[in-house]
Symmetry: C2
Subunit: 158 residues, 2 copies
């Protein structure tokens, strides 16, 4: 089964807004495999949900397999991700124009990093998007801000 | 946590004995990772039990993490092991001298292969072991008969 295509943009945050109306949840994810391996195996906590995900790295037909797991299963496998983890609090809310955003405040070795993602229903919508004043630089295409890269970085990208 | 050290020998089977007094169970295992990857991730069914196991490949400090999983979780991850699987029926029983043996009759691409393993309490016991007449060649040190090698072989080793 393939994951549905997501159209989203990712930005730095120049000034974090008040988060009173946002829903907060803990996100922890760690990679069991290394970046050079033929497959990516990730465990993830998102609020009350726990998952294991396998992504193949083929270029033509990438496959993805994901199973919900129990917290105890997560805790058993989590130590296998040492050195390849990221932990953050994700704030989910809606901009005045109706766009749903996810604001990630990172912890641990990435403390201080703040990223905001906006998801769009179409490419046209993404192209027409005007970022609010509190958004910083658009880092959608900057590979240093991919989760798998952040997990093994020494600190937030400069 | 490290797995306890196992002392066992593995043999081909020259003449399969009557298995009436043996317990039979299905064993299916598949590798999510490839042999060159930095870590080994395996899912396994053994009778009614299902497991995911992560083994690091470090030479000094090899770690192993294993979690029991549900059949539905196993079935979700099993497709990620295509081309890196082995399936067999394992017969467990006791030799006249009291040694516990595991006799594996392989299926699928390994159909026809039969292996028997004997586990020992000590190295002395292993060295003193006299194989019964129905045992074939000792393949304990033959890497072609490792599970991870058999899983990706085209057919049983010649």
């Amino acid at each position: 089964m393939s994951a549905p295509m997501e159209i989203e943009k990712k930005f730095l945050v120049s000034e974090c807004p008040a988060l009173d109306d946002f829903k907060a949840e803990v996100v922890r994810q760690g990679y069991i495999t290394s970046g050079e391996d033929s497959v990516e195996v990730r465990v993830r906590q998102k609020g009350e949900g726990y998952y294991i995900t396998v992504k193949s790295k083929g270029t033509l037909a990438r496959s993805e397999y994901e199973a919900a797991i129990e917290p105890t299963q997560f805790e058993t496998l989590w130590p296998a991700t040492a050195g390849r983890r990221l932990e953050k609090t994700r704030y989910t809310g809606t901009l005045p124009d109706g766009a749903a955003v996810e604001l990630d405040l990172f912890e641990g070795h990435l403390a201080g990093l703040q990223l905001v993602e906006v998801e769009f229903a179409s490419v046209e919508e993404a192209n027409a998007f005007k970022a609010p004043g509190w958004f910083g630089a658009d880092v959608t295409e900057d590979k240093r801000y991919k989760n798998s890269a952040l997990a093994v970085a020494d600190q937030p990208p400069a």
